[in-house]
Amino acid sequence: MRTLLTIVVIVMLLLGGSFTSYRYIQTTTHTTGEHLEVVVQSISIQKWEGAKKELSTVRQSWDENNTWWSILLDHEEIDTIDISIRRLERLLESQDVTLSLSEVSTLKLLFENLHDKEKFTLKNIL
């Protein structure tokens, strides 16, 4: 009986935890992706203040969620995103359209990769 109970508890924890963490990552990456899309549009029409404001929202959200991300994901990926955000902040200050757009694309891809890596697919299992 104890064995069965232990198995059930662990399985429930694993399934529940997996589902919760996936939903959390999906939600945060989706939200961040939307903000970054706004940044792209702002940069395209050279609305630098708007772009900076939107990026600061991304930065704030990133700082708030950093703890949970560190628990769930590889720290190297988190560091890469951190570096990319800081680079984009500097590029927005220097008002370089080409490099800023390139950095935003990189940042968007990094977040999309995070989301894709956590999906329960055959590709990720293999």
Binding site: T6, I7, I10, V11, L14, G17, L72, D74, H75
Partner: protein
């Protein structure tokens, strides 16, 4: 560095808890799937403890998965004999009624040298003395010697020795085990008198006191025992 220390301790505790939940079988590695679990758990625990870039959960979750898988296999093999045969395999009889089974040796990739070595390790240097030799699922060989070659037992001489139960540890490392004392149907006064026979006045000074089923008390005092004749209480 402190981070590595804390992570290692956390994973160490997780592994201990996992092994405790899996039970004594896991530590004894009775079955192949249990050996696999032990090996994998040790590897899984090592990676996050030395690499701080890897989240701790990356080590803990696979350990939990292995724990649940191992418990599941153990539970299934407990309930179903067929499943047990598939999961654990069946023991192989390498020597059957004194005759070596070449077929079983080949099937298990066991050569004659290995067989002779195992027999010697079982204190049987002469293969002619073996009635049965069984290769168990955990890789060990159980050897049953021929009747004329086995050690004699009291039954061979129609003797009925006295019953020998498990000895009870009454005092361990200076601490009295009250439940064992009650179980032995003895009291503290008896214990006091037995210790005084050995010139020991305090329970604290006893390293071990073990009572066998014939009522004999084995006592050993601690090396740093202080014999104080003025203090006659045994607490």
């Amino acid at each position: 560095m402190l981070i590595v220390v804390v992570r290692t301790l956390i994973l160490y505790i997780v592994v201990i808890v996992a092994l405790r939940l899996m039970g004594k079988r896991e530590i004894g590695q009775l079955q192949p799937f249990e050996l696999v679990v032990i090996l994998m758990i040790s590897e899984l625990a090592a990676v996050p403890s030395e690499n701080v870039g890897v989240p701790l959960l990356s080590g803990i979750i696979p350990i939990l998965v292995l724990l649940s898988a191992s418990l599941t296999f153990a539970y299934i093999s407990l309930k179903s004999e067929k499943a047990r045969d598939i999961i654990c395999g069946k023991p192989s009889i390498l020597i059957d009624r004194g005759k070596i089974s070449e077929k079983e040796l080949r099937k298990n990739c066991y050569n004659i040298s290995d067989l002779l070595e195992e027999l010697r390790l079982n204190n049987i240097p002469n293969i002619a003395d073996v009635e049965f030799a069984i290769l168990e699922n955990n890789g060990q060989i159980s050897v049953f010697p021929k009747v004329q070659k086995r050690p004699t037992i009291p039954e061979d001489f129609n003797l009925t020795p006295q019953y020998e139960g498990l000895p009870l540890t009454i005092i361990m490392d200076g601490k009295l085990k009250k439940n064992h004392l009650e179980q032995s149907k003895k009291d503290l006064d008896w214990l006091k008198s037995e210790l005084e026979k050995q010139k020991i006045t305090r329970i604290k000074d006893v390293l071990i006191a073990s009572l066998d089923s014939s009522g004999k008390l084995f006592v050993q005092a601690k090396a740093t025992k202080k014999t104080n004749p003025s203090k006659n209480s045994v607490r």
